[in-house]
């Protein structure tokens, strides 16, 4: 099975574009129906050794971007085996993005600080 890898979003402009897309798509809502425009981007903050929100619900096709705001590096690694996604180490202000193309519940953690856990629910 081919593991789809996420890509780092290195450009600030790309981040702005993603944020813009998020605004256009309207507020995130876990009860989004199929006929409504699906959000294409969502954000998770990595701050104070935790993921926020810890549980994020998005539509299929959404690109989720994690940004590390800590003075310490973190990673974003899916818990499943084989791993659906695995970031490289993210130093301060670095980002990792992954596009969720399938519905399901994706648990993940920081492989450096495994007490840090989160879930992306894709509907």
């Amino acid at each position: 099975m081919k593991i789809r890898r996420g890509v780092f979003v290195s450009s600030f402009l790309t981040a702005v574009a993603l944020a813009g897309a998020l605004l256009l798509a309207g507020p995130l809502d876990s009860t989004v129906h199929a006929q409504q425009p699906a959000p294409t981007a969502a954000e998770v903050k990595v701050d104070n050794f935790s993921f926020s929100p810890a549980t994020l619900t998005v539509a299929v096709g959404t690109t989720v971007t994690w940004t590390n705001h800590d003075d310490i590096p973190h990673t974003v690694v899916s818990t499943d085996d084989p791993r659906a996604f695995r970031s490289k180490v993210m130093d301060t202000d670095e980002k990792f993005s992954y596009t969720f193309t399938k519905a399901g519940s994706f648990a993940y953690f920081c492989s450096i600080h495994p007490k840090m856990t989160g879930t992306v629910v894709v509907k």
Binding site: N48, F49, S50, D70, D71, I72, P73, T75, T79, K88, V89, D91, T92, A107, Y108, F109, S111, I112, H113, P114, K115, T117
Partner: protein, 322 residues
């Protein structure tokens, strides 16, 4: 020294029967320079202000080594923009010890981001130490992105598995363990079955009178699991050491000194040479703690360990850089 009041703290546990209770948790506050001696299972600890009372010869012992930890080379945030300078200061401190250490133990987080140049810088600075031999175990910051491959190539010659090993010096048996790989979501540090089996076999044939020193990055005791400060399967590892009369466990990771005695086992964590971290539960997260610039070297330091044959004692002395 108490950080708030500036008063000297003096511990003298000679008469309070700590070992009979079989449990002691003594926090040697950063900057205290507490001096602890273990003799026949009884911990005696004194503040550095009373060090003059000791016989220097007896303290030097037959085997002297220094533990340093958590150099985080490459870290450049406000908690310490000059980790190179403070590592150099640690080397100066080592070179100024009255009893020159035979070797150095580095208990991990050599680098901050596992970059080759970070390891190179640390290796270069440690070449300036009076003790030429440096033995390592990895921290989680040393095995980023490659599951420890680079670490093994650099520091893992003559080691087993992910980099664990043992050796003997002057009758003391040293065991270096790796507990920073294959960490599971929601869990703590992990040794794993392969390493545990190796360890069981490694100590099986040793006499129970052999002093044991175990060193690993993440504490092998439950310091504060909420922050991941502990090792999931450490109880199994310590179970193999029950027959030994003297076991000293040296760890890093938490960037502050802490000590506990349980039966014949003394647990000790070292200060970082890079930046301090908050005491358990006193901050929203265990991230780097910013202290006033003129206080930084008072919360960084080295750990000097001395062993005297026949005395059944290992003396553990923490000293700060400033």
């Amino acid at each position: 020294m108490d950080r708030k009041t500036g008063k000297k703290i003096m511990h003298d546990h000679n008469e309070d029967g700590i070992d009979r209770r079989g449990f002691l948790e003594c926090m040697a506050w950063v900057g205290t320079g507490a001096f602890c001696v273990m003799q026949g299972g009884i911990l005696k600890s004194f503040s550095m202000s009373r060090l003059g009372d000791f016989d220097a010869k007896a303290m030097a012992g037959e085997l002297s080594f220094v533990q340093i930890s958590d150099s985080h080379m490459g870290f450049n945030k406000p908690a310490n923009p000059d980790v190179t300078g403070t590592l150099k200061a640690a080397v100066d401190k080592i070179n100024g010890l009255s009893a020159p250490p035979e070797f150095l133990l580095h208990t991990g987080d050599i680098s901050h981001l596992s970059k080759p140049e970070e390891f190179d810088t640390v290796d270069q600075i440690l070449k300036g130490a009076s003790a030429k031999d440096v033995l390592f175990v990895p921290g989680e910051h040393d095995v980023l992105n490659d599951d420890g491959k680079q670490y093994l190539e650099r520091y893992g010659k003559n080691t087993k598995g992910a980099g664990w090993y043992s050796f003997d010096k002057k009758g003391v048996h040293f065991i270096g363990l790796v507990n920073v790989l294959n960490l599971k979501a929601g869990g703590l540090g992990t040794l794993g079955n392969e390493q545990l089996e190796w360890m069981e076999d490694d100590v099986k044939h040793l006499k129970s009178s052999t002093p044991i020193v175990v060193f690993a990055h993440i504490p092998l005791w439950s310091v504060y699991p909420d922050w991941g400060w502990g090792t999931q399967d450490s109880a199994q590892a310590l179970g193999y050491l029950k027959k030994f009369g003297s076991v000293t466990v040296l760890n890093g990771h938490i960037h502050q000194t802490m000590q506990k005695v349980e039966g014949n086992v003394t647990f000790h964590t070292a200060m970082s040479t890079a930046f301090p971290q908050p005491a358990p539960g006193t901050a929203p997260s265990p991230g780097p703690m910013k202290v006033p610039d003129d206080q930084l070297r008072k919360v960084l330091g080295i750990t000097d360990v001395n062993y005297t044959r026949g005395k059944h004692a290992l003396a553990v002395v923490d000293s700060t850089l400033g």
